[in-house]
Symmetry: C2
Subunit: 102 residues, 2 copies
DNA sequence: CTGTAATTTAGCAAGACGGCTAACTATTGT
DNA sequence: ACAATAGTTAGCCGTCTTGCTAAATTACAG
């Protein structure tokens, strides 16, 4: 990890920030849903093919989601497989939501 | 309601969009938390006093939260009382989150 | 090696966003 | 009526975002 040690509170604040920023764009939310409905893993090209915007634009969206930890990427030959990280979504968004429940 | 009738799916998509946009800024999330920790209702001035940015900037943040339905406002003399709308947060964000649970 | 397929990186332009100050509106108190 | 208080609206300006196209990278196939 390149990240230095940090207090948990500050860490989760930053996690929330980066996740909220990632979720702020409809195309990125859509990518997450498509990933989920197609089994949690897809190649970049398959994702890009499903969106109106250009491939480089999709690549950037994928980068934002990846920086937010909402997806992981593994290289497989000349493809890159993006995998949904459900736990990250559930834990970060869920923690936020707990502030407002009951 | 000024809004015309609309399919539920489209409605919730737009709800999600506007709520995610509202949550995308740290100051706005902070306002929601402050509101919650101070009992769910505060005057605009009390909120503005707790933030580093200028009062007009806070007013704009409150407007975004209000347009997202996350807070409601009622006038009380020359004050405006903003009230947290927990149900809205829980239902919109919770519905999104359900896509990724278990 | 050379070509092609898969994807990212670079760089630019248009628009959205968030900060500010100044000016305005509305309500209360004297 | 006048001044003060509470808050919003208007307008400007710098920064971030997102779309694009073109160029670079990486891996496989012949």
């Amino acid at each position: 990890m390149a990240e230095p040690r940090r207090r948990d509170a500050a860490k989760s604040l930053e996690d929330l920030d980066v996740v909220c920023a990632a979720l702020a764009h409809a195309s990125r939310r859509q990518i997450l849903l498509v990933l989920k409905y197609r089994g949690g893993e897809m190649a970049a090209g398959d994702i890009a093919a499903r969106f109106g915007c250009s491939w480089p634009t999709t690549t950037r969206h994928l980068g934002v989601l990846r920086d937010a930890g909402l997806i992981d990427v593994v290289r497989a030959g000349r493809q890159r497989l993006y995998r949904l990280n459900r736990d990250r979504m559930v834990s970060v968004v869920g923690d936020w939501l707990k502030n407002f429940e009951s």
